[in-house]
Amino acid sequence: MLDFFAIFSKGGIVLWCFHEAGVTESFTGPVNALIRSVILQERSGNNSYTHNALTLKYKLDNEFELVFVVGFQKILTLTYVDKLIDDVQRHFRDRYKNELEEKGALKLLLNSFEFNDEFQTLLRMAEESSRSRGPVLMKSFEKSQKSQKTVKSMIETKGGDKSKEQGGKNKKGNKKEGELCGGCCSFPCRLIVSVKGNYLDILCLEVLNFSTFTLANRKSPKPQKPKGKEKRVWDMGGSSTKELDYSASNGGNSLETASFSKDIMEDLVGVAKKGGFGGMFGMLKGLVGSKSLTQEDMEPVLEKMRDHLIAKNVAADIASQLCNSVGKKLEGKVMGTFTTVASTVKQALHDSLVQILQPKRRVDVLRDVLEARAQRRPYVITFCGVNGVGKSTNLAKISFWLIENGFSVLIAACDTFRAGAVEQLRTHQRRLNSLHPPEKHSGRQVVQLYEKGYGKDAAGIAMEAIAYARNQGFDVVLVDTAGRMQDNTPLMTALAKLIAVNMPDLVLFVGEALVGNEAVDQLVKFNQALADHSMSDKPRLIDGIILTKFDTIDDKVGAAISMTYITGQPIVFVGTGQTYNDLRSLNARAVVNTLMKA
């Protein structure tokens, strides 16, 4: 029932594959999609992925740099797949250990890996085990726990501990009520019966009928015992106060090799505390020899890295997803000599952060504008985002950059809601025109504003502006929209309509660098709205991100990671101030270095 099973190396060579008879499509497409969207984007936390009609489950073997992928139809739920992958991995490794241990790709190319028979046996075993377990039968009444209970124990009593005599047992009290009442469970009856003649209580109970559900949920009353004052137990309190003792070494390892000896010292100290001589010897052996990483080894380091990332303003669940993914990527990997667990994990995290921040597609706005100019149409950029992030300011900065490079810009004022939005854009237009006067540009104004006042439909204004630009030969149209909260459905629908109708070349989401966990929510909801309300089956989603107010954060640059991780789109511009010159591009390495610094 599987569609295919493939084993390939991380370098890309397929070592062995199995195709179910009758399946015509090759598995290359889905597996490539899996690699690109999951493994390369560090989302390998959970090991399954859906692509069109197929579900793909995968497992990484980091010791020999292999990937095991199995694919089956999405509508089937096969329970034996996880176990099958583990079994196949074990058998494959055991059988081809010698070939796989050779370094260099030559061995992989030269050998042919015949695994068909073993795989068929394993598959048959797995299918049989799942079949033999059989469908789960419903429990009969005799076997269930309910039949063990007596009727009396099921009668609810209200607040019995207050109204009971001292030292009275539960059963005794219940039996009394049961006799009185004949075991009926209707509400008012029960409550009046159970209350020992306390008028106030009866009144309260009858008035608060709706809250009887909560009262009824109280189980049989607690045993009576004169209690002293109990120690207060907090939910997040923890069990011991040892964790609160921070007088031990402070963290703060940096990535440079200078900290390498410090890591060793910490490890030595840690091991000396734990295991004494045997532990020290084992640690030294681990330091020099080849030790493979396990989840337990990496757990404390990953925990520390997660907290570090969260302290640097990365969204909380993104930080934990990243750390899980790095853990999965390193599990089973053999460390080199003189490397500690901490340094390996930090290096891997550093590399994956750089990978995330590198743009997946080409980011060159000027080149695209030139292309659009060659096709005699304007290049349309739309700015969207929540309130107050800096859309209009960064729009002005981008138009300054464009006119510096010789393009003519039309600003479409589609913010018809906020008071002063149109005037703000007009002021920018005047300033930009005074910086680049029309005399120098063959008598033509380099920046013009297309506005229709307040209260009109934004999508209509945008469409007219684009048509005007096409007629007048403008190179770029910058569409400014009103800020809106991501859970304001009518406004999100309006934005989606604007984008779906006008099909801009670039949809930029403007987000401020100060945002924390909110970034995830904003981006997800914006993308969701754009996808839901578009008519076509290939909806226009967010194409790029502008990260604003970057000068206000010193080194808490985590918002960049959150935003690129969620959307997978690059950060096109970085805003670092409020003057026209404060527009930058993103340097991924510098940001990651700042992020990983202690």
Partner: protein, 262 residues
């Protein structure tokens, strides 16, 4: 010290320890002191050597296979090394192996296949770079190909070493594949435009220049590949070969070019 007098703070916490150590040393014989000093020096030297030794990466000359995703680098890698056809998937990590050129001299270098999505290259001393281009969909991807080639040509390491650059126009077995000459012309035109747009790119947020400081070719004239300091050649090849999986690949031109490099 009288009571009530303020004791000045100790300048060094281990001043007393140092003094006791020096007193100990003086008490010993000079041979022992000399032995200890030699041991310390040897240990320091060993640490320095190990650091230097571990820090350096492979310095053997390498031939890199670079290109966009799905251009056929891994299959080309497999064909060059052992002539067999292997199914391939998107590479996640790099793979390298020793490659022996055909012919009499048979020099060996490391052939290194880099994943398409990575823009970071390891610090190999490159002897030559094989830039693999997918000729079938070149027309659609011309801007991406040109951007990758531009970042390669303006990389500081490449500019310093000026390795030979071989542009392999792969997938010639597909009917709509463009010829090497056409690809060369298109790339020249595109790089000409890119010179302008990339130098106008914004600088990075920490002040480092976003665009590149290296200017390709000659100023004032249209860009041509002959203006570059490195040797450039365009070859056509087909890693899959005309007969599909069973047949041989059509990489004879590529192999002769590689042999000429040695």
């Amino acid at each position: 010290m009288a009571q009530g007098e303020v004791v000045p703070p100790q300048p060094l916490a281990f001043q007393p320890y140092l003094e006791s150590l020096l007193a100990e040393l003086r008490a010993q014989e000079p041979a022992v002191v000399l032995g200890v000093a030699v041991a310390v020096v040897v240990v320091i030297l060993t640490i320095v050597f190990l650091h230097a030794f571990l820090g350096k990466k492979s310095t053997r000359s390498a031939v890199l296979l670079i290109g966009l995703c799905d251009s056929g680098k891994t299959l080309l890698f497999s064909r060059l090394l052992c002539g067999k056809y292997k199914r391939t998937q998107t590479s996640i990590t790099e793979s390298s192996a020793l490659y022996r050129t055909k012919g009499d001299r048979g020099t060996a270098w490391t052939l290194c296949d880099l994943p398409g999505h990575e823009s970071l290259r390891p610090q190999y001393i490159e002897k030559a770079i094989v830039f693999v281009v997918d000729s079938a969909i070149f027309q659609k991807e011309v801007r991406d190909v040109a951007e990758l080639l531009y970042s390669l040509l303006t990389d500081t390491v490449v500019v310093k070493n000026a390795p030979a650059l071989l542009v392999a126009c792969n997938k010639q077995d597909v009917t709509m594949a463009k010829s090497a000459k056409l690809i060369q012309q298109q790339l020249e035109k595109e790089l000409n435009t890119l010179r302008v747009t990339r130098s106008a790119a914004l600088s990075a947020q920490d002040g480092s220049p976003g665009g590149t400081t290296v200017h390709l070719g000659k100023k004032g004239k249209d860009f041509e590949f002959s203006q570059l300091p490195m040797r450039m050649e365009f070859v056509e090849c087909s890693a899959r070969g005309n007969k599909g999986e069973e047949g041989d690949a059509d990489i004879a031109d590529l192999e002769t070019c590689l042999a000429k490099l040695a």
